[in-house]
Point group: C2
Amino acid sequence: MTVEPGRRERKKAATRQKIAGTALRLFLERGYDAVGIREVAAEADVAVTTLFAHFASKEALVFEQDAEFEQRLVRAATGRAPDEPLVPALRHEIRALVRHCTAESAAPVWQLIDTTPALRQYEESMRLRHAESLAAAIAADPGQGRTTTACRTIARFAIDAFALAREAADPEAAVDEVFRMIEAAWEVSGPSRPA
Amino acid sequence: MTVEPGRRERKKAATRQKIAGTALRLFLERGYDAVGIREVAAEADVAVTTLFAHFASKEALVFEQDAEFEQRLVRAATGRAPDEPLVPALRHEIRALVRHCTAESAAPVWQLIDTTPALRQYEESMRLRHAESLAAAIAADPGQGRTTTACRTIARFAIDAFALAREAADPEAAVDEVFRMIEAAWEVSGPSRPA
DNA sequence: ACCGTAGCACTAACGGTTAGCCTTTCGGAA
DNA sequence: TTCCGAAAGGCTAACCGTTAGTGCTACGGT
């Protein structure tokens, strides 16, 4: 599957990177709204249609790590030791993601996102997508006897934790705070007191 | 303040209603994407610019009750008896809102929303706005000793409850289920054991 | 060596949204 | 009562993201 980085794939990835890199640079230099798609395409030396072949929308240019982010969440739920409880595993991953996003180097990008309504909105719906994937991953785990609603609820709570922590004064502490609440919620949603 | 329903205000409200009504009718008849803004404006007999003076976007045409919805939530948190606990009050209001939205008469509209990506996304960000308002209302309540993060968390949970319940097979039961989790979360976020 | 397909380009257009500018009409102060 | 400022509405023209439609090129597997 992933064993064939043929020239084609490499070129495609290179084009994608070039577009995303150029776009991000321009956006950071002059502001998201002040830079048009046609301009990004020209600067990256590709056609507008090519740009949209790689990214579904202008906003998606900024969230290049979208898929990776989602995978990490899902793996945190599915790929854990059989006896490792779910919630702490989620907390650990969310913690890592928050740390990653609040790092010094990521500051300019997030500042751009936070100050651009279109990007904020896009990120919101992105999170919802991630929450749904996570919910599916949680529900897929056999022998955790929760309802679909409970799984979706916990998934949303976890994503909310990320969003809230990112905006909190002390992100790490905020993750712990929200996860204490999540832990409690998860407890009471437990497999209806197995007889 | 509200004591002057002058002719001006009435005309404005009438125009607004006429636009929203016309839009909704056309959308339901022929589908959201198949009806253009210019067409809605023409059918409502107003200029396109007038339409956008009343509604910030095409999507907003469908969510006319947006503000009312938000007010109900906020009032559920702020306008309750001094000794009435927060979470049950929220549950009651969310229950009512879910019942309202899953009513027979509202079915076509929600079916339209659920099958139109643009509307789904708009509703998501609308909910986030509502959650923020609710969080502010909760935090404003004196003597409930929670952190800002805890208030925002609970607010999001409540909004999530609405969203999840609306999509569940048994909405009312789903509200109760999620609110059992919320109640537990609210407990552990309690005012650090008041001395 | 060959063919199918995927990547990419170009042009044109569509549809939501806004800016600029003008007219009408109401509400309240003089 | 009169008059002015402001708000509502209108028209035109454009901007910008996004999407066909079409065709060319080059890579990858047979």
